[in-house]
């Protein structure tokens, strides 16, 4: 048993304990905080499993944005879970049997870390081998994401776009944009105010770095979009939604939601016009590799635009609801 195994097992056990605590606790605030912890620990585990890009995303999304959205929901709904009156026997049996079946299924799986596993001998070796010559960027994950599997990623961006539209429709953000709504802010917390002002600049700068540097290291449009949105969300949390709307109006964000997807799809159309297949970037530059660089840069920017706009407008929609719980009650 090596150190790597020990770290692996310790993190997994910690995840199990967190999940169990989430199941048992009835105070929803604690549940949401623990789910944030769960995300952060799983991000650590993902780094350990060599998935640095994924860990980056999980830390930004799971521990950041989804926690904020869940807290916003708690502020609008309830803070305690009522004791359940239903019987627990049937769910327990179902879950136990499902788990048993899955464990039985793992017995035939290739062992953890086995280089001979079939998953490593399908298309993955091609990506690892050809990225340097065909795409010319060091981060293989970005190369696969934006170029080899660009079509899939376009689909994912469309899903995010659709989910964002769904949230806006459900929360009525298209119909009314409340003006002068008295929303609880943390404006009277001096420390929060000062720290936020210091932090916003570096957060935005970091987001731009992650966006631009995604070709060379962990990062890219998805992570950058979430981090960029986080800067606006922290501003709205501390200085109030009205002020955030002055800096970045809700209708402008909604236009940006569509712009990102359009940019992504547009790059595909341009490559068709140049006589290549949809989303084949080779024709966009003087040489195929140069074209790939341009294509990846543009579609990653489109991804970042849509992701950050969806996150910001989702937050606006949640925060625009009138919260029934006052600041002091928290």
């Amino acid at each position: 048993m090596t150190i790597a195994n020990v770290i692996d097992i310790a993190l997994l056990v910690f995840l199990g304990l967190t999940a169990f605590a989430i199941l048992k606790l009835r105070a929803l605030f604690a549940v949401v905080m623990l789910s944030s912890v769960f995300s952060l620990v799983s991000a650590c585990l993902l780094v350990h499993l060599d998935a640095v890009d994924v860990a980056f995303t999980e830390a930004a999304v799971g521990a950041g944005i989804s926690t904020v959205l869940m807290l916003a929901t708690l502020a609008l709904t309830a803070r305690r879970e009522k004791a359940s009156t239903r019987t627990q026997a049937l769910p327990l049996i179902v879950v136990f049997l499902t788990g048993l079946a899955l464990v039985y299924g793992t017995l035939d799986m290739p062992r953890f870390g086995d280089p001979a596993a079939p998953i490593h001998h399908h298309v993955a070796p091609k990506y690892i081998h050809d990225t340097e010559t065909e795409i010319g960027i060091p981060n293989i994950v970005t190369a696969v994401l934006a170029s080899y599997r660009g079509f899939d990623t376009l689909g994912e961006v469309t899903v995010i776009f659709t989910a964002g539209i769904g949230v806006l429709l459900l929360l009525g953000a298209f119909i009314r944009e409340p003006d002068g709504l008295k929303i609880q802010t943390m404006h009277h917390h001096l420390v929060l105010r000062v720290v936020t002002k210091v932090l916003i600049g570096p957060i935005l700068l970091f987001a731009l770095y992650v966006q631009a540097h995604g070709d060379y290291g962990p990062g890219g449009g998805f992570q950058a979009g979430v981090i960029f949105a986080a800067a606006f969300i922290i501003y709205a949390l501390v200085f109030g939604l009205e002020n955030a709307r002055l800096a970045l109006p809700g209708h402008a964000v909604r236009v940006l939601v569509a712009c990102g997807v359009l940019l992504y799809g547009g790059v595909g159309i341009v490559s068709i016009l140049f006589g290549e297949n949809y989303l084949n970037y080779s024709v966009l530059g003087s040489t195929p590799v140069h074209g790939q660089h341009w294509g990846i840069l543009l579609v990653e920017f489109g991804v970042g635009l849509t992701v950050s706009a969806v996150m910001v407008s989702t937050f606006y929609a949640f925060a625009g609801q009138n919260p029934p719980i006052s600041d002091e009650d928290w």
């Binding site: 789910s35 009522k82 627990q88 788990g99």
Partner: protein, 133 residues
Amino acid sequence: MIAGDFLGLFNYWIVIVLMMLGLYTVVSRGNLVKKIVGLNIFQTSVFLLYISMGKVTGGTAPILTGKPEVFSNPLPHVLILTAIVVGVATTALGLALVVRIKNAYGTIEEDEVQAADDEREFGNTAGTRDEAR
């Protein structure tokens, strides 16, 4: 051999335990926010399962450095990276639904929502259902 098998499958087993904890939270708890947290746990476990499968012993993160190295499989990373962001978008959609349910029913407990629906459909059933509890 047994020890090798145990270490070789430990990741998958714990991931399955996590998945089942998430699933149990979704099925057994009536609070809708709690259900969404349970769904998130389930989702994260699936992510961990995929990434575990992509790990190669002695491998490193799939970023070219110019040196010949063993890389872990980048393909699951790409799948899961996008899945995480799609996951938060769908979570937001779920939470928006919860907010609307709260506006419509005044509660986010599934049992109470169902009771209110029953009442609306069949008239006042408080005498039968609530006493039975």
